[in-house]
Amino acid sequence: MSEKIKFTIDGKECFADKGKNIVEAAKANGIYIPTLCHLEGIEAAGSCRICNVKINGKFMTACTTEVADGIIVENNTPEIQELRKIIVETLFVSGNHYCAVCEKSGNCDLQALAYRYKMLVPRFPFEFEKKEVDAYSSKLYLDRNRCILCKRCVRSIKTKDGKSIFAIKGRGYKAMINIDYELANKMTEEEARKAMDTCPVGCIIRKEIGYITPIGQRKYDKKPIGSEIEEPVTK
């Protein structure tokens, strides 16, 4: 049987199973810690940095840190909220995000987090970096204007024999998502759909099929991000 661990988040006493990371442990206690690169069930990357919390006074990413007995987690403090908002705003200016014409609007985690952190306009100047759209593969196209380099696809979308379909190319601010055409063309309908759903933004888009659910009726159109975790407790 799994062992229960006791810890606190923002002073609230919490319990979690041993081996859980702090994002999951918080969730089990009705506390939402935002994530972009993290996806339950795959190895944590800790690269978007938005799940930064303070653990015993030290900044650490909640997705990469296992819950431990007696730890004191700070999550909802002005300092941390400010950092998260800065990360969202940095992502907005480092790409070209036009929600109004994006197939993922309403299903986009970045857009939903911008609402959560009440971003009206990024504090940073837009740079309008030129990004290339890649539509060579038969089922998917990559709109790199929207990619936030979370590597969810890199980590989770593989062929049956374990080969990568997606990987990063280049480094630093020039890094971009890259797709293996040959392997991508062999994806099934279901796998292609999964790739699109894995993407937290509107970078990986299924070709030929679109806007099946009208804008206005999508996931975050109905309820803000995080509410599915926070609501049961507040009610």
């Binding site: 978007c48 936030i148 380099l149 062929t159 379909i165 990987a167 601010y173 890259n178």
Partner: protein
């Protein structure tokens, strides 16, 4: 399938973790790794093409396109600029007929910028087809290009040899050591092999005990106690362990390891053997930056000598069952690979992206086995500590920082070079020692360190006060601080692995803001923005590079705020220099309509 690529991949056992070696060898033989090569490598290794491309595209010295018969990498470190890089760069462009970042039409010359190549004491320096040309002048540029046009090889136009081993048959390099001060530890005289005899008389636990008692701390900059690191590794499960030596030396302004590798490779290898023995390692790997490839034959020769003496191989130094060898793993141009977990990733043929911690490398390291990563200087210190004892070592330095430190001092000084000092020297004494000329500031520990001014010159160099990996860049009073800070910030932009959001792009935002101020368009709130945004870097990023990338901005504003205030628009809340007419000109031209006068 081209048999050339096939045989190269086979040479490394069709092993994807040796992808770095494969790409290095193909680059060497064909000048680049083109898309056909990528397909062949992927097929042969049974991995996808994007996995080959992700490694290939990460490293500065790899390319998918040819980079010219003569590939010219001109250092773009701050000190290179101080020493006249701009006119040298112009001379290269003029003589080759091509611009930086491109190859000449005839395919003869490729011109590229590159981050600090470890020659800050002899700038401007350039690497051409692996050969280092230090102290380059415009005259020399023309001479070199003329010789290349006449078909000479890079090695053929080497016209002097540096001192010491630089002039040996195995190096034959123009690089000079500039070893300006020998200290009592690293550069003291010793008899090669004695430490191994001493080692053979002790068990591994006793060796660790000596190092722990010496209070030796890692010399790469972080200062973690070496003996404790070793002990952690021995306590990790698994009988396969690795010792990696970090000779990536990428911090702009550092070049001490270059001198050790040139003059004392045997000292380093002895240190690697002792560390390997202490932790029970199966193999030692020297991770060497590509910029130092000119030392390869020299280092390999020394390793062979060790093997002949029975100091590497089976039953090392006569110790039954201690089977241990050392191999050299080259990097390919990535500062971040000096971070220990990124270094491990690179050794495994991957992108040099730092790992999340925990687990620490001593638990899960190279090939997921417990691994110790130590700096070159650390391992050299180990040899002398074992020979002379922990007590001897503790008599030097300060209370918390024992022993000596190699400083790489460059910039506006009369005697650039390597100085071995006891920890505890003040910055002021250091400046006097190196013959500083009207110093305005010192960048302590390279760009990731701290920019200190006169108000901090009495601070002491040690972990209790002003820690450093040893790079000291002296900035004279004729220099402009915001410009200096911009160079450093651009370095971090170029060298970010791109994994963490703030390091990948907040650095770009900070640089642009800095440029705005330098262009005279800043206002007081722009300085505050730099501080407030810069602070986020420290808390938000995973590794030391990202956490320290805003240090030059933050410490310079702390110590030299008037230098920024002097160039902003005074008394204004917002910039007033925006020229609307100029900004809309292009659009006006496009649509063919202009505002009424």
């Amino acid at each position: 399938m081209s048999s050339q690529i096939q045989s190269i991949v086979e040479k490394y056992g069709n092993d994807a973790t040796r992808l770095m070696d494969i790409l290095i060898l193909i680059t060497k033989e064909k000048g680049c790794v083109d898309s056909n090569n990528i397909t062949e490598i992927a097929n042969q290794l049974n991995i996808s093409q994007v996995d080959v491309e992700q490694t290939l595209s990460f490293y500065h010295f790899f390319s998918e396109q040819p980079r010219g018969k003569y590939t010219i990498y001109l250092n773009n470190s701050l000190v290179a600029y101080m020493m006249g890089r701009a006119e040298v760069a112009e001379a290269f462009e003029k003589a080759t007929g091509t611009k930086f970042g491109s190859v000449s039409n005839d395919g003869l010359f490729g011109l590229y910028d590159t981050s600090c190549i470890g020659m800050n004491d002899q700038e401007p320096a350039v690497i051409i087809n692996g050969v280092i040309f230090p102290k380059v002048t415009t005259f020399r540029v023309r001479e070199l290009i003329t010789a290349f046009r006449a078909g000479k090889s890079a090695q053929e136009v080497v016209n002097s040899y540096g001192g010491g081993q630089n002039q040996s048959l195995l190096i034959k390099s123009m690089v000079t050591n500039n070893l300006n001060r020998r200290g009592p530890v690293i550069f003291s005289d010793y008899k090669p092999g004695d430490s191994l005899k001493k080692m053979a008389s002790l068990n591994s636990k006793e060796v660790i005990e000596v190092i722990k008692n010496s209070n030796l701390r890692g010399r790469g900059g972080a200062g973690f106690p070496t003996g404790i690191k070793w002990e952690f590794c021995t306590k990790s499960e698994g009988d396969e362990k690795y010792l990696l030596c970090n000779a990536d030396e990428g911090e702009p302004g550092t070049f001490k390891d270059r001198v050790i590798l040139t003059e004392l490779p045997h000292l380093l290898f002895e240190g690697m053997i002792i560390a390997g023995y202490a932790i029970g390692a199966k193999e030692g790997i020297l991770y060497l930056r590509m910029e130092y490839e000119y030392l390869k034959d020299h280092l390999e020769f020394n390793l062979d000598e060790f093997r002949k003496k029975g100091w590497l191989g089976k039953n090392v130094a006569g110790i039954e069952g201690f089977n241990y060898d050392i191999r050299i793993q080259f990097g390919a141009g990535a500062y971040i690979c000096g971070e220990e977990s990124a270094l491990i990733e690179s050794c495994e043929g991957k992108r040099g992206e730092p790992r999340n911690r925990p687990p620490f490398p001593v638990q899960v390291g190279y090939l997921d086995k417990p691994t110790v990563v130590n700096n070159v200087e650390t391992l050299c210190s180990v040899v002398k500590i074992l020979l002379n004892g922990a007590e001897w070592y503790n008599t030097m330095g300060t209370i918390e920082t024992t022993g000596t430190k190699l400083l790489s001092i460059s910039g506006d000084i009369r005697y650039p070079g390597v100085f071995e000092i006891e920890w505890g020297m003040t910055i002021r004494e250091m400046l006097e020692m190196a013959g500083a000329i009207n110093p305005l500031a010192v960048q302590v520990g390279g760009p990731s360190g701290r920019l200190v001014g006169e108000n901090e010159f009495d601070r002491t160099i040690c972990y209790e006060d002003l820690p450093t990996g040893g790079a000291m860049i002296v900035i004279g009073e004729q220099r402009n601080i915001p410009d200096v800070v911009k160079y450093f910030t651009e370095f971090f932009i170029d060298e970010s692995c791109g994994s963490c959001v703030p390091c990948r792009y907040l650095t770009v935002i900070l640089r642009n803001k800095l440029q705005k101020i330098i262009d005279g368009k800043g206002v007081i709130s722009d300085i505050d923005d730099l501080v407030n945004w810069g602070k986020q870097m420290k808390i938000a990023n995973r590794c030391g590079l990202g956490q320290t990338a805003a240090n030059p901005i933050l410490s310079s504003i702390e110590n030299f705020r008037p230098e920024y205030e002097a160039i902003i628009e005074k008394g204004k809340d917002f910039g007033t220099t925006f020229n609307l007419e100029a900004a809309i000109q292009e659009s006006c031209r496009e649509v063919g309509r202009f505002p009424l006068a």
